[in-house]
Symmetry: C2
Subunit: 255 residues, 2 copies
DNA sequence: AAGTGGTCTAGACCACATA
DNA sequence: ATGTGGTCTAGACCACTTT
């Protein structure tokens, strides 16, 4: 893509270099659009486009009436997945809460929906049921220190959830996993599948995402020993507030 | 963020709905900018901004002189990490190649750099060496069916790499992992840490990323039984051409 | 009041693809 | 030749923040 660069890309490159070089450290204010207009002898539309480019790259964020600032990459919360089952079992708390607390953060949640729904196709596939068949659904926004972090939707098959507290709108103090085990089920194996993409506007709003911040999109599926699906979770993570870690050791290789 | 929507966002929302509803299926052409101008009674700049919004969301892509098209989410290549060590060991090929072939794809690679370098800070931390100290570095672009897929940079400590083929610019037919084992080392445990973000312009160019496509950014570190770092890899994946899967079973929990 | 980003109209020219 | 996206100048008004 050798595209000889347009003026707006040229200016954006100048600013990007200054940021990456450290001349404009995190938190620093960028030249205002009016300043760019003067300095480069251009117009508002172009200056605005320059900011738009850097915004889309996630390098800066704008504050209304104040200016444009170099975004700081804040310390990330590490979510070590697969293994979290081992570490945070039987704490009497949801895994999310236990992990957050162990990192010195305050977990909260906002329940968005609890009830039955026609299962979306992708979830139905994991649940091994007909698409459109009903499942029990819990959808909530999980926050760390008051900031939105994860948008999580869990699907439970009716043979697991029917008549249990999984269908009640109140929060589950012990977390869904422990509740499911208390109901006599047992987690045997699971899989996590994820990818990254840009958020939908709804996701961006719920997670308070700034422009240029992608989401990590994860399916988390747990099975019992009979290979029946006990739960399917669909999680949307704000990528600028998370990193993910998976560890392995020799024992895994020889499985 | 209830921001009462501007005209450009309004129009973008209309088109987005049509796409998500399926009225504009993948591959379909969007109304041209001139058409939008007429239909909504607006001007070029606004129509252009509308396309820009959808572009940044990764929903559409533009083709010069042809039009704007609904992007199709192509079938993704699943990279099952951690466990790939088990599955693809001792095939006589690099793990990437073995995995690609097992999915019916043709792996190729373009070596970008082989030699010694001052180690960047982050890599030095994983390697447990002083930042700036030299390591042997191999940087290459890996392709699937001719399309760029992964930009991979590996760092090898000198006590592992010195005087070996790891420092030679030729490709390693058996892959670095098997070569390291052949040199008498042994992989004992490892960790993968990743996050997602928007690409730098350099990454976007090398990976031929269209606008609105994030990258998954991964550190992959392998240790021997003495907990010495054998290699550190820094991989940049095109997120629209990859998904990642991690499996676990009961044995992992009781580790 | 002054400065900032956000959005818009109006009109122009360029580069590329296709028929 | 025509239609497409890409970019630009010129100038305007709005909404918000800070002094």
């Amino acid at each position: 893509m050798p595209e000889r660069p347009s003026l707006s890309r040229q200016i954006a490159a100048d600013l990007r270099d200054a940021i990456l070089r450290g001349d404009l450290p995190p938190g620093a204010v960028l030249p205002s659009e009016r300043e760019l207009i003067e300095r480069y002898g251009t117009t508002k539309a172009t200056a605005s486009r320059v900011i738009g480019i850097l915004l889309a790259e996630g390098l800066v964020s704008t504050e209304f009436g104040r200016g444009t600032f170099v975004r700081s990459r804040p310390p990330l919360r590490r979510i070590s997945a697969a293994r979290r089952h081992a570490a945070h079992r039987h704490t009497g708390k949801p895994i999310f809460d236990a992990q957050a607390i162990s990192q010195g953060q305050v977990p909260t949640r906002r329940m968005l929906f609890v009830g039955r729904m026609a299962t979306p196709p992708q979830a139905a596939t994991w649940l091994k049921i007909a698409p459109g068949a009903e499942t029990a659904v819990r959808r909530r926004l999980q926050l760390l220190d008051g900031e939105p972090a994860v948008l999580s939707t869990s699907y439970y098959p009716l043979w697991v959830a029917e008549g249990t507290r999984l269908e009640s709108p109140e929060p589950l103090p012990e977390g869904p996993d422990e509740l499911i085990e208390a109901l006599g089920h047992s987690f045997s194996h699971g899989i996590e599948v994820f990818s990254a993409r840009m958020p939908t506007p709804e996701e961006a709003e719920l997670l308070a995402l700034r422009p240029g911040v992608p989401v990590v999109h994860m399916w988390d599926v747990d099975y019992d020993r009979q290979d029946r699906t006990l739960q399917v979770a669909h999680d949307i993570y704000a990528s600028d507030r998370h990193e993910f870690a998976y560890e392995w050791n020799e024992a895994d290789i020889n499985t």
